[in-house]
């Protein structure tokens, strides 16, 4: 079905030792899966360190710097602390939902790693429906949030759970549709082939810079914004809004159970950045990946550099933007992102059927993307103008309120 994969070597070795092929494959898969899952768990420690360092630099602080070089072992200490904490179970919580929720949320995050292509041939499993597999796993996170909110028997947790679900659902649509633009272009849903399609071969040499993000900046931007919302990062972290909802749907969780939600959140954020790198920034593609021996190693490096770069970008946005209100969150998802991406898809679908050579079609898609960005920018500008007018008015003397006509700019919304 596909070329050589990572499991071939192990299977060959084991069958050479006289094991039946079925068992060899099972052992190989077991080893691979175990490595992947542990990679997810351990990289979360690193991610937390990166996050704290990045955020603190933006806030003119040093961040963790005591334990180990650059404070690298701070998160290890934190994990040790969390593991030795008492796990408090609130009275009247629902045993099934309360205890299953943290497990499921980690499960949903870790399983995503199964389809991430790390390097040429190094992908857990290159499913034909890889893209939809990722989207489908997102629904496990939704269920986990609902279960946690409901199971804790806490009004605030339930309310936050509802808000999380509303937000995740709203931003899942633009995210799925922005992935659809890539699928429409490549005609495949397997991540392996999507990355392979982003090479740029000139004169038999794979330059590896045919990234879709260059051609489809609007789709990439929409994916990035939705991934911020899906990862519950700051412009869209109103689910944790401390002033209203205490701490979100996991308020009643403590110790390791809380740590599980925490871990799932970081792994999720990283995988979303990795997905952006895969879908729009070429994954492991880069100059020199076509070379025989050094190529795969270079590809591995490229992938991680890109994924972590996008992750740091996420943190940058998180460190700079203020939190949106819930009505703005809804407005942005359904009235800005969804129409923009649906329009883009229709434009791209038409462009791809035009009887022109490929470069012309790509140029048309690029122009459509730029137009979409411009449209979204103008719409946002109008919205912000209306908002700032409203803010200004709410500070005017009360005697004037009611006597004034509604401003035209604001009345549009």
């Amino acid at each position: 079905m596909q070329g050589s994969t990572w499991s071939d070597g192990i299977v060959g070795l084991l069958t050479g030792l006289g094991l039946p092929e079925m068992l060899a494959l099972g052992i190989a898969y077991g080893i691979g899966a175990f490595i992947l899952v542990n990679f997810g768990m351990i990289s979360a420690l690193l991610l937390i360190w990166i996050t704290r360092k990045a955020i603190s630099r933006m806030q003119d602080r040093l961040g963790p710097n005591r334990l180990g070089p650059y404070g690298l072992f701070q998160t290890v200490a934190d994990a040790a602390k969390l593991i030795s904490k008492e796990i408090i179970t609130p009275s009247q919580s629902d045993f099934l939902a309360y205890n299953l929720a943290p497990v499921l949320s980690v499960f949903g995050a870790l399983m995503l790693l199964a389809v991430v292509p790390f390097a040429p041939g190094l992908i857990g499993v290159d499913l034909n429906i890889g893209v939809l597999f990722v989207v489908a796993l997102g629904s496990i996170g939704v269920m986990a949030a609902l279960m946690a909110g409901w199971g804790s028997n806490n009004k605030y947790a339930l309310l936050a759970g509802f808000r999380v679900v509303a937000q995740l659902l709203s931003y899942e649509i633009p995210m799925v549709l922005s992935i659809l633009t890539v699928v429409l272009l490549t005609g495949t849903m397997s991540f392996g082939r999507i990355v392979e399609a982003q090479s740029l071969t000139i004169g038999g040499l794979n330059l590896g810079i045919g990234w879709f993000g260059v051609m489809m900046p609007a789709a990439m931007l929409i994916f990035f914004i939705s991934s911020l919302a899906e990862a519950e990062l700051t412009p869209f972290d109103l689910l944790e809004a401390e002033s209203e909802l205490i701490a979100g749907f996991h308020i009643e969780y403590s110790g390791m159970k809380f740590a599980m939600f925490f871990l799932a959140q970081f792994v999720n954020a990283w995988i979303l950045s990795a997905l952006m790198a895969i879908l729009f920034l070429g994954g492991w593609q880069g100059p020199g990946v076509g070379l025989p021996v050094i190529g795969p190693i270079l590809g591995f490096g490229y992938f991680f550099v890109k994924a972590y770069a996008v992750y740091v970008l996420q943190q940058w946005v998180r460190g700079t933007f203020p939190r949106v209100r819930i009505d703005q969150m809804m407005y942005f998802a359904w009235k800005v992102l969804v129409p923009a991406i649906v329009g883009l898809i229709v434009a791209q679908a038409i462009a791809q059927k035009l009887p022109f050579p490929d470069p012309v079609i790509y140029a048309i898609i690029f122009v459509a993307n730029i137009a979409a960005i411009w449209l979204v920018a103008t719409m946002l500008q109008r919205y912000i103008k209306g908002e700032s007018l409203r803010t200004k008015r709410s500070f005017e003397p009360t005697s004037l309120i009611g006597t004034m006509q509604e401003a035209k700019e604001y009345a549009m919304y």
Binding site: A33, F34, L82, G124, Y156, M256
Partner: protein
């Protein structure tokens, strides 16, 4: 193909066992001194009044509704996108018509204010 899903099966069992093991370890290593106040529901220190199952607004349901319809749309568009190279012009228009039908639905909800958070 089934061997690919064997990997998914193996990995999902590992991905389930690991968090369970971590939580059980937390249970074993951590102290265990529950009391009534500690186990009480946390509402910023204020005593809980009434039931948790307060009435929720229908807005949440409306979001779910629009989501369901667009989710179904997306699931149909993905195989069409995979097959896109081989499609005839008629098929392409059928697909675009399908998308436009749902856009009409979105516009209707927009006009009716179902997408606003009141």
């Amino acid at each position: 193909m089934l061997s690919q899903y064997a990997f998914i099966l193996i990995m999902s069992s590992i991905a389930l066992i690991l968090p369970v093991a971590a939580i059980l370890m937390g249970h074993m290593l951590g102290p265990r001194r529950p009391d009534a106040v500690k186990n009480a529901v946390y509402e910023s220190g204020v005593e809980t009044i009434g039931d948790t199952w307060v009435q929720f607004r229908a807005q949440y349901y409306l979001i779910g509704l629009v989501f369901v319809v667009f989710d179904v749309e997306a699931i149909f568009l993905f195989p069409i996108a995979v097959a896109y190279e081989q499609l005839s012009m008629f098929a392409v228009f059928a697909a675009i018509f399908f998308v436009l039908l749902l856009v009409v639905g979105l516009l209707y909800d927009w006009r009716k204010g179902a997408l606003e958070w009141q």
